[in-house]
């Protein structure tokens, strides 16, 4: 079967996407879950251990607190309260922490430090899987056993004000609630006022038991201007006032004889030095946890806060309120909170917690008996029993107290050990699915590599021996073998794996596909290795003496070197440095090529070419000499100009980890004093974008483009990023929905014109000129959309991208006769570098989610995801689209350029993706696997998916070309 290389490449990429999806399913562990699907009940609680005598009561000790107020401040960083500036930011809280009856801790949040997984962690006590981040925005109701459900079942009345994620997670759980949306990140006063306005009336009333407040303003400020902004202090002072208000109201309410109250101040996650969150750096992970209650001892001396896990709050609250601990909770109770109760109650609380943890341990670890913590717990339980016996006998001696203290210590050790064993359990992988996915991807990659000589030949077609493979004996043998392996693995009942839970039909299809791939691979490999065995008339290896120029060496070495560098966590964190470095070297190499062409080969054969080239164009030039001269200087100036552009863009957005805190131009532009500069810059960039893009458009699209870009500016003015020259004051902030929709209309219009031109060129006239215009119009539609989505300070990135593309296409790629493969690799490198110029990094936190709401009144899933993905991958996409435009305009020089380009793009993308999944598998017990490697894995797979889309686009382009030719 003969297929064109573009079809071949897109086919391979699409199947690679499936392979990677399977790998991802196996890689991201399903969270630790109890086997029972039901929820903990009061009646299930274990009896108090007592050795010897009759069964004891299974009653819970009296709850510690009557009323709990949880004040959750989004993105409250530990040093905002405990740090040196805490005294200035939150004076009252600091006073209570240092002098009052309180306990304070640094609570470590687990990555991903994003709000929804953190809320889940706080309420269920489990550690949500990494994949929860992806569902972060679309939160269905939480069905797992959790604190809120337990409280509601126990008849507690819960009041909630704040982030409406809670309302969606716990529908019908709250007696009274008011959710605020967190989508408009630029609003940081209204969201908090919406919470505080209910506070006075609620605090006066007496009809609630649990009050939860979730303040979002601080997080929004962090996203807008970082942790050192001037907005932080007033916001924290406001929070401090609220805390003071609640505290004094609670003190007033407290009556003699009844149980005390508990006031909890906590943060769901911290905030990095740039103000974002999601990763696992210290400032993102460390949150303050302050527990205030008259039940605690008043503190005399200062002490630095201890360190606990964030999930430890759940069992503590559950026990404090007299509720069963939720089943999947992996935390252990904070001992300080129990200090003031009697020794018997303390032991009872610890026993309950230990029992719950040991049950979870039994369900989630196959050989749980060997766990140290489990053993310790058994021992402690026995000792507890004998202590109880003595206690019941009325013994009150010193010995009993000491023994009790010993049991207490044993319990605490056992709890800590079990908790950490469960935490480790999260790193359990579904190896079978992972290996299957990996084998799949590698078969495809090998096929891609083996087909290289054919795919890059003049015919640009690959001969796949599908039929002979399907009819061969090895194919059936392979099928049998793989099927039996599958049965063997699935019946050996190791642990649950995704592949085994699939239906038989699907699995068999995968098995058959994999065996076909294998047979094709073998037959192609034999053909490559022994070319004499079969005679292939069509595949010609003419001109196969491969002489590599310096540029080729650089391109190859760069691609391989980059792939290898992914093995080091620092290189993944600082991947932008690799790309900038490679891109610079590429520009210098190109510069050297240009110099060589214009200086060295002046009196050689170059001269004739110079004269032929301009005359090839239809326009006869009046002053060929002068034109050549100016062209020479422009060509010479292009690489240095590109270098300078890249250097400037590099300082626009600092990304990565090590140097992310350094000040950059983007922050400078975004600060309110420099609004004027930002406005001028944005206006200038938009004008330049118009000038660069309109050259090759039809007049309809030109007008649409101009209006669209105007709309972009007015959108930015409406959301208050830039200044309007004629609108100075009295301007209220809006969402800019109307303006954004205005731009969308023009984007659609331009895309429509482009598609119409493409279709016309294909069906009616077969006109190459019309076709390249249609392609360019589609490209300009994309540019317009991206210019709407980019933040105002990022517009120079888009501008430079277009400028470099224009100059390079005009003076370098055309004039120096780079072939399709070289051009593709250069485009790919530029695309990668621009991905990071935009401010992206290999960290989930840098994805700009607010883009998903441009032009929308509320959150709608599909467009939001589409817009966010487009904005994030704007750089690579723009360069890939430019590649299509460029290669199809170069068609008269080499008719198969598009096919070659598509093949190279597929190869460039699949090599790092395939290598990376192997690396991740090898490094799966690495310390940074969740914080560094997994986000990168998600980025890689997303990029692969997008490249598959681009390759399909390539494919249609080539299709229409061949049809128009015939």
């Amino acid at each position: 079967m003969k297929v064109r290389s573009s079809v071949f490449a897109s086919f391979i990429l699409i199947f690679e996407v499936f392979g990677i999806a399977l790998f991802l399913r196996g890689f991201f562990p399903v969270p630790v879950k109890s086997s029972l699907s039901s929820k903990s009940k009061l009646s299930d609680l274990p009896a108090e251990p007592l050795s010897g005598s009759s069964p004891n009561s299974s009653r819970l000790p009296q709850p510690l607190f009557k009323r709990v107020v949880i004040m959750l401040v989004d993105a409250l960083r530990e040093d905002f309260v405990f740090g040196p500036s805490g005294r200035m930011y939150m004076p009252y809280t600091r006073h209570v922490v240092e002098r009052g009856s309180s306990h304070s801790f640094v609570a470590k949040a687990r990555p991903p430090t994003v709000t929804m997984p953190r809320i889940k962690a706080l309420t269920t006590g489990s550690i949500p899987g990494f994949i929860d981040v992806v569902m972060n925005l679309n939160s269905p109701a939480l069905l797992e056993d959790n604190l809120i459900w337990q409280a509601k079942t126990a008849g507690k009345r819960i009041v909630f004000y704040g982030d409406d994620t809670w309302v969606r997670l716990f529908p019908k759980h709250f007696m009274e609630y008011d959710g605020t949306t967190s989508f408009f990140v630029s609003d940081y006063t209204e969201v908090d006022n919406n919470v505080t306005r209910h506070l006075d009336s609620t605090l006066k009333r007496d009809d609630w038991d649990i009050l939860i407040l979730h303040y979002l303003g601080l997080d929004h400020i962090g996203h807008i201007s970082g942790p050192h902004s001037s907005l932080i202090q007033p916001k924290l002072l406001e929070m401090d006032d609220i805390l003071k208000k609640i505290h004094s109201a609670l003190i007033l309410k407290e009556a003699e004889g009844s149980l005390p109250y508990l006031l909890v101040l906590c943060g769901d996650h911290g905030m990095s030095e740039t103000g974002s969150h999601g990763g696992s750096s210290e400032p993102e992970v460390n949150t303050p946890l302050v527990l205030i209650s008259p039940a605690f001892k008043r503190k005399g001396k200062l002490s630095s806060p201890g360190v606990v896990e964030q999930v430890d709050l759940t069992p503590t609250l559950a026990l404090g309120l007299g509720l069963p601990i939720s089943q999947n909770s992996v935390g252990h109770v904070i001992p300080g909170v129990l200090e003031e109760t009697s020794l018997r109650d303390q032991l009872r609380f610890l026993h309950l917690n230990g029992h719950q943890l040991s049950c979870l341990l039994k369900d989630s670890i196959p050989n749980y008996e060997k766990e140290a913590g489990f053993e310790q717990f058994r021992v402690a339980e026995k000792a507890h029993g004998s202590w109880m016996k003595l206690y019941m006998e009325g013994n009150t001696s010193e010995v009993l107290t000491n023994m009790g203290k010993k049991v207490l210590k044993q319990y605490l050790e056992a709890l800590a050990a079990m908790s950490s064993a469960l935490g480790k359990q999260l790193g359990k992988y579904d190896m079978y699915s992972m290996i299957a996915g990996m084998v799949f991807v590698f078969q495809l990659l090998l096929l891609l590599l083996l087909a290289m000589p054919e795919a890059l030949s003049g015919a640009a077609a690959v001969d796949l021996p599908v039929l002979s493979a399907l009819l061969s004996l090895p194919f059936y043998l392979m099928c049998l073998l793989l099927a039996s392996v599958h049965v063997l693995v699935c019946t050996s009942a190791e642990s649950s794996c995704y592949l085994c839970s699939l239906s038989w039909g699907l699995v068999f299809a995968a098995v058959a596909f994999s065996s076909t791939m294998f047979c094709i691979l073998v037959s192609m490999a034999t053909r490559r290795l022994f070319p004499g065995l079969k005679i292939h008339g069509k595949v010609s290896f003419s001109g196969s003496e491969w002489s590599l120029s310096e540029l080729d060496v650089l391109l190859l070495a760069g691609t391989i070197g980059h792939t290898l560098s992914l093995a080091a966590s620092s290189f993944v964190e600082e991947e932008h440095q690799t790309w900038y470095f490679l891109l610079n070297t590429l520009c210098l190499a190109v510069f050297q090529d240009v110099c060589r062409k214009y200086f060295r080969e002046k009196n050689g054969s170059g001269e004739e070419e110079e004269h032929i080239l301009p005359s090839k164009d239809c326009r006869p030039s009046a002053h060929p000499k002068a034109e050549i001269c100016s062209e020479k200087w422009l060509a010479l100036a292009t690489p240095p100009f590109t270098l300078a552009c890249c250097r400037l863009l590099r300082s626009l957005n600092q990304t990565g980890v090590q140097w992310a805190h350094l000040p950059d131009v983007g922050h400078w532009l975004n600060s309110s004093e420099h609004k004027m500069v930002l406005s001028l810059l944005a206006a200038f960039c938009l004008v330049l974008i118009y000038l660069l893009v309109q050259r090759r458009c039809s007049w309809v699209s030109k007008v649409a483009l101009a209006l669209g870009l105007l709309g972009v500016y007015s959108y930015r003015a409406a959301v208050d990023n830039v200044l309007f020259p004629w609108q100075h004051s009295g301007h209220t902030m809006s969402k800019g929905t109307v303006e954004a929709r205005f731009v969308y209309v023009f984007v659609l219009g331009i895309l429509f014109t482009g598609t119409k031109d493409l279709l016309r060129s294909q069906i009616i006239t077969a006109d190459a000129k019309l076709k390249s215009r249609g392609l360019w119009e589609i490209y300009s539609g994309l540019v317009l959309l991206v210019s709407l989505l980019f933040r105002a300070h990022n517009l120079p990135v888009l501008c430079c991208c277009l400028l470099i593309q224009t100059l390079m296409a005009q003076f370098i790629w055309k004039k120096l006769h780079y072939d399709a493969a070289q051009t593709t690799i250069m485009h790919y490198w530029f695309g990668q570098a621009f991905f990071y110029f935009q401010g992206n990094s290999n960290n989930i936190a840098t994805v700009d989610i607010s883009v998903g709401f441009i032009g929308l009144e509320s959150y709608v899933e599909a467009p939001a995801i589409f817009l966010t993905a487009l904005n994030t991958y704007a750089g690579p996409l723009l360069w890939a689209c430019h590649l299509v435009c460029y290669l199809s305009s170069e068609r008269d020089r080499s008719p198969v350029a598009v096919g070659h380009g598509c093949y190279c793009l597929a190869l460039l993308r699949s090599v790092p993706a395939a290598a990376y999944i192997v690396l991740v598998t090898v490094l799966r017990y690495h310390l940074f696997i969740w914080s560094v490697f997994s986000p990168k894995l998600l980025y890689e797979s997303m990029h692969l998916l997008l490249t598959a889309g681009v390759c399909l686009f390539f494919n249609t382009m080539e299709q229409s070309h061949s049809s128009s030719k015939s």
């Binding site: 080091a568 620092s570 290189f571 600082e574 070297t585 060589r596 200086f599 590099r650 990565g656 090590q658």
Partner: protein
């Protein structure tokens, strides 16, 4: 065929390599607390100065520099002046290239410039010594198949090695190991130095083993 020249080259390179070694060791005797990492800039200056002085002296004694057409004092002075100018310009060139590669623009300008001086004294200075301040000759030597003598080939190899060494030296910078040699510009200058020494060893060896294949066009 060129055994004589190859031998001369090897001995020249040995002298230069020895001078680099001395420049690293000797200051430790005179300056307290001298070390390659700790007082990196001092080491840079000492090495660049020594390499400059020794190369100029050795190449002058060897007489490889193309013969000048005129022998007037004024012409010689102008040549000297132009050489100095080129030296300085090349420092600026290297500096700007390093900044383009991402070195901070203002913060550690002195370090960056010292690196540029080192690179210049390792590469441009040799060109100046062998080819003289003659841009046409430089372009000829550094384009494909442009070498016209053993010394040209040697120049190509050493310069390429030095530049590649400095280029490779930048790789460890993003790693989070917190080693003293990861501080800017230690790894790059060490890389350049190692590359240069490799070039000194490799070029006579390479020419020796390829002397059959090497053919030079006459001028």
């Amino acid at each position: 065929m060129w055994d004589h020249e190859i031998r001369a080259m090897a001995s020249t390179h040995a002298i230069i390599a020895a001078s680099v070694f001395m420049a690293t060791v000797l200051p430790a005797v005179f300056v307290r607390g001298f070390s390659v990492y700790g007082t990196h800039l001092l080491w840079l200056y000492s090495v660049s100065g020594t390499v400059t002085a020794v190369s100029v002296a050795v190449f002058w004694l060897l007489g490889i520099t193309p013969p000048t057409k005129k022998h007037t004092l004024g012409y010689k002075l102008s040549r000297l002046f132009r050489s100095c100018l080129y030296f300085f310009l090349s420092c600026l060139f290297f500096h700007s290239v390093v900044v383009l590669y991402g070195a901070p623009l203002i913060e550690s300008a002195l370090e960056t410039f010292s690196l540029a001086v080192l690179l210049t004294s390792l590469t441009t200075l040799r060109c100046l010594c062998v080819l003289g301040p003659n841009v046409q000759a430089w372009i000829r030597v550094f384009s494909r198949h442009g070498a016209m003598s053993v010394w040209d080939t040697c120049l190509q190899i050493t310069v390429a090695c030095t530049v590649v060494g400095a280029w490779v030296g930048a790789f460890p910078i993003p790693l989070d190991w917190d080693r003293p040699w990861q501080v800017w510009p230690v790894s790059c200058s060490l890389g350049a130095m190692i590359g240069f020494l490799t070039g000194l060893v490799a070029s006579p060896a390479w020419i020796h083993y390829h002397r059959k294949q090497l053919t030079y066009k006459c001028k």
